[in-house]
């Protein structure tokens, strides 16, 4: 295939031209005539019954509460997994509030400030209930119940056991670790935002929302509002980062959609950072008790895991409350080949906001638990962590490989990714440097972490899971314009991924249309084919595959017409450099398009009357997903006195199959690593005993900034996937998966002589100093 402007070219991103000039258009930039702003009264309590809501009579017509929302069904995101308990999330609280920030009343005014003035006038009489904010406490008998009729706080428990008992007798060594990852809040630059309006001519609801899954939001809204889907249109304009948060159907979207029809004016709600942090975007909170067993040769023999995920008060639509815990069992084996395995998982309800998918979904916590425990096992065995890994990694000659949890790894060379990372990070030099003490008293450590990122997994995976959507075939509508340009329409959404550029590269590779003449249309259910949207690192596989399918079909139609015009046989013409080339001459593809539209009298007889406008569809040869993978290597310096950590070096060796645009891939990895560093060292949403969040601004919720993110070196391997259209794999999330594990391993390596080990994220200076302190006390007591 072609580079130049095609697959493999490092083209600058088309969309950046408008972003860099400040010409993007986000929900916050849009003003409709007569538009009013919305502010919500949110629950100040984590768990309480609402006895009464007092609204002054003078403002009653601008305030809406649950009882006003006639005909609105609650949001419901069930799975078909056996034993799942269903939660029902009302748009506005009915009877009870289950987390701080839950919506109680919607206030409408000409400006947001005035809407907030209305909020301040409402009085709610609460009967406080005991709140449960810790997932382990929530599992105990007698814990306060988030949903009383359940009888406990468990959405779902899963179990997998592959001949585990046999392992214990065979094991030479084992280590058990208890690990935790903090609850985080996703912080895309742009928060959520919604404009709802009712088009009386089309008798249609139009919702402009900062979403990454417009078609899914459409289905969800139609169901909640009891409208035919044809009467709901969802538009996603420019979206300033999604990361999973923008995949969720929001109660705010439902409430505004109902109210705009009632009031007859467009309504807008823009989430502010406070709402984002305390109520909106929670993610990541896992707990593990993990035992790793090794045989006498230092090979991994078995894993035994009990994992708990704090899923919060409601099952979020569409991914459900079990997206994280439900995947842990199948992700935990990592890249390793071992014979015995057991894993139980619990999705637990607490009085906290629903847990949502965040870049890396479940994998970040799993990679942390597994890779940190493997390093502990290596220390116990007295061998280098890298050597433990070399002995147990799936080998390239085993590919494709079905692992112990029945995941099907498509292709790759995992040991090679580790070898290259060892080389790139200068492992031997770091070990040498560690032997000389640092002049400033800091301690140096090196750590590795490896993972696989399943991407573009489709029907078979999701059907088994039974959440509100199951991805099937993906489509692209492609058409030539009369002047020879190309329009591509996809139902997924691009909000940082660079699809306006990469999908154009795919089309260019097939049709030779110049990059600047290709336009990607996305983000509007009225203009694009159905799609489950942008999630699971699926777009380059699925939308890329669909664009290729549509362009292949267009190419055939172009060639048929051109063969007639060139008086050649269809088999004898081909597309090359933007021209159709035949034995007797060539003509521009654009000229063929012009002939079709503008001079049909010249067309040959043998052609497809469907013309140069069609829908192509795609599904991978195997729909269990591609598995890109990587090794992350970190070198850190830890100040044992203050607990400060500096990342001295960071290198990544990753294999995303065939890279459509390596520069964009690097950008995806850099951004992910920055978020992973946040998980590792900074980001933490803590709660007090009453379930009150202790961070409500970015001065309490710490995100890494430019000086906290080091220069990262990325090396690529390119093992094509055997199952996708041109060997590509999904890579959108990987950067965020391994940093907590790699950095923690490096910190633990730095502190191993002090006997201190860190098993929680984020690793704060206080946690380091306290871990060193208790290691000293243990040593003194021994």
């Amino acid at each position: 295939m072609t580079a130049g402007q095609g697959i493999g070219a490092r083209l600058l991103r088309k969309e950046d031209d408008r972003y860099m000039r400040g010409r993007g258009q986000y929900v916050g930039d849009i003003r409709l005539p007569g538009m009013q702003e919305v502010a919500f009264l949110r629950s100040p309590l984590a768990h309480a019954r609402i006895r009464a809501i007092q609204i002054p009579a003078g403002i009653r017509d601008r305030v809406f509460i649950a009882e006003d929302l006639s005909g609105v069904a609650p949001i419901r995101a069930d799975t078909s997994l056996p034993g799942f308990k269903s939660s029902v999330q009302p748009a506005l609280a009915t009877g009870k509030v289950r987390h701080v920030g839950e919506l109680i009343a919607m206030c409408v005014a000409p400006t947001r400030a005035e809407a907030e003035d209305l909020v301040a006038e409402i009085d709610v009489d609460f009967e406080p209930l005991p709140a449960v904010h810790d997932m382990l406490a929530a599992r105990q008998p007698g814990a306060p119940l988030v949903h009383e009729h359940w009888g406990d706080n468990l959405y779902l428990t899963t179990a997998i056991d592959v001949d585990f008992e046999a392992a214990v007798a065979k094991a030479a060594k084992s280590v058990t670790r208890e690990l935790r990852t903090a609850r985080q809040a996703m912080c895309p630059l742009e928060g959520r935002g919604v404009i709802a309006s009712w088009n009386t001519r089309l008798d249609q609801l139009i919702v402009t929302s900062s979403t990454q899954q417009p078609h899914i939001v459409r289905t969800g809204l139609a169901e909640c509002l009891g409208l035919d889907e044809g009467r709901v249109r969802v538009v996603a304009p420019d979206v300033g980062g999604g990361f999973g948060y923008k995949g969720i159907l929001l109660p705010e979207e439902v409430a505004l959609s109902w109210a705009t029809r009632k009031l007859g004016v467009p309504l807008r709600w823009l989430e502010d950072r406070r709402e984002n942090l305390i109520a909106g975007a929670d993610c990541r909170e896992h707990h593990y008790i993990l035992t790793a067993y090794a045989d006498a040769d230092g090979r991994l023999l078995a894993l035994d895991c009990e994992a708990t995920v704090d899923s919060g008060a409601y099952s979020a639509y569409p991914f459900s409350a079990c997206l994280e815990a439900g995947q842990i069992g199948s992700i935990l084996p990592g890249l390793y080949d071992f014979p015995h395995y057991r894993c139980r998982t619990h999705s637990v309800a607490t009085n906290k906001p629903p847990i949502l998918p965040y870049r890396g979904v479940a994998r970040t916590g799993v990679c942390f638990a597994l890779e940190v425990t493997l390093d502990a096992l290596a220390r116990e065995l007295g061998i280098e962590p890298k050597d433990l890994r070399f002995k147990s990694l799936v080998r390239p000659e085993q590919m494709p490989f079905d692992n112990i949890a029945k995941r099907h790894f498509d292709s790759g060379d995992y040991p090679e990714a580790l070898r290259q990372a060892i080389e790139e990070i200068g492992f031997a030099e770091v070990r040498e440097r560690q032997r000389r003490a640092e002049p400033d008293g800091r301690r140096i450590g090196i750590g590795f972490a490896m993972y696989a990122e399943q991407a573009g997994h489709g029907t078979s995976v999701y059907a088994a899971w039974g959440i509100p959507f199951v991805p099937g075939y993906e489509q692209c509508q492609a058409r030539f314009t009369p002047d020879g340009g190309l329009e591509l329409r996809i139902g997924a959404h691009s909000h940082g991924q660079g699809l306006e550029t990469t999908l154009s590269q795919v089309a260019h590779s097939i049709l030779g249309v110049p990059h600047e003449r290709i336009k990607l249309v996305h983000g509007d259910t009225a203009e694009t084919p159905y799609s489950t949207g942008t999630w699971g690192s699926r777009c380059m596989i699925m939308s890329g595959g669909a664009v290729a399918a549509a362009c292949d079909e267009l190419a055939d139609r172009i060639l048929r017409i051109a063969a007639g015009l060139l008086q050649a046989r269809r088999e004898d013409v081909r597309i090359e450099g933007g021209d159709v080339v035949g034995p007797s001459g060539r003509m521009a593809v654009a000229e063929v398009a012009r002939t079709w539209y503008r001079r049909p009298q010249d067309l040959p007889g043998d052609l497809n009357p469907g013309g140069l406008e069609l829908t192509g569809g795609y599904k991978a040869k195997r729909d269990t997903g591609t598995f890109s993978y990587a090794t992350h290597a970190a070198v850190v310096a830890v100040d044992p006195e203050t607990g400060e950590v500096e990342i001295l070096d960071y290198a990544i060796v990753e294999d995303g199959g065939v890279l459509v645009n390596p520069m964009i891939v690097d950008g995806q990895v850099y951004g992910g690593v920055a978020q992973g560093i946040g998980t590792a060292l900074y980001e933490e949403m803590r709660y007090d005993g009453q379930g009150q969040p202790l961070a409500s601004t970015l001065s309490d919720y710490i995100l890494p900034g430019p000086t906290e993110v080091p220069d990262v070196r990325i090396l690529h391997m390119e093992t094509p996937s055997p199952y996708t259209r041109f060997g590509q794999k999904g890579i959108g999330e990987g950067g965020a998966i391994a940093p907590p594990a790699a950095i923690t391993n490096a910190i633990n390596d730095a502190l191993k002589d002090l006997g201190a080990e860190l098993l929680v994220s984020p690793i704060t200076p206080r946690r380091i100093v306290e871990a060193i302190g208790s290691a000293r006390q243990r040593a003194a007591a021994a």
Partner: protein
Amino acid sequence: MKPAPFDYLRPQTVEEAVRLLATTPDAKVLAGGQTLGPMLNLRLAQPAVLVDIGRIAELAAVTDDKDAVMIGATVTHAAIEDGRTPDPTGGFLPQVARGIAYRAVRTRGTIGGSLAHADPAADWLSALTALGAEIAIAGVRSSRRVPLSAFVRGAMETELGADELITGIRIRKLSSRARFGYHKICRKTGEFAEAIGVVVDDPERAYFCAVAGATGGRPLVMETRAAPGSGSVTVEDARQLLKGAHFTGDDYELTLHAAALHRAYQRAYAA
């Protein structure tokens, strides 16, 4: 969130400003807005009137007499960082300014606003206490000068009356033989301090002061008058100094503050 409704006044002189403060109920001074802005937005502050002092020329002035420099209250952190104002300390003030927040905040945030707010974790509070600075205050009835160490009563509590204005900060000049060390420990670039250590030693003026900041209350001045010799103060000494100054905090906080103080000493006496 957006602020509750308020009125906005913009006086041109100090005299007019203090008169407005004295006669307008529930008025609040607005300087750079880098603290007050977020507080208004979060509705933690809901004043009826904002008195914007940003256009008062005399508050933006810096005057240099033989002994000292008076820095006007609305001089920004960035102006000090850039050396756009006379520096009585031979490099100490710009060094501190550079470590405050981010450049965007420093461009608007003012030295007077920072001291008026008296956040224990703020940089100027500790640095200027160690310099023995005085704060100039204007009111309708009188003007006065108060040593900073007496001005601050506790966390976000000062001597300032509701109808008073900080007009400037008077800092005595350091001699060329003076040594200083400032060490701020914070979670990341641009964050408020978790611990601050400051040491100022001017043998020519026989002036010495060591301060621990970001302690949760007013800056703690260490009970040591004499300037110890270079590098002779250990971490353990720093711990003892802090305990002697009635430092309150758990073991980790004590460790962190001892490290900050120790490192300030090391910087001051580095060759």
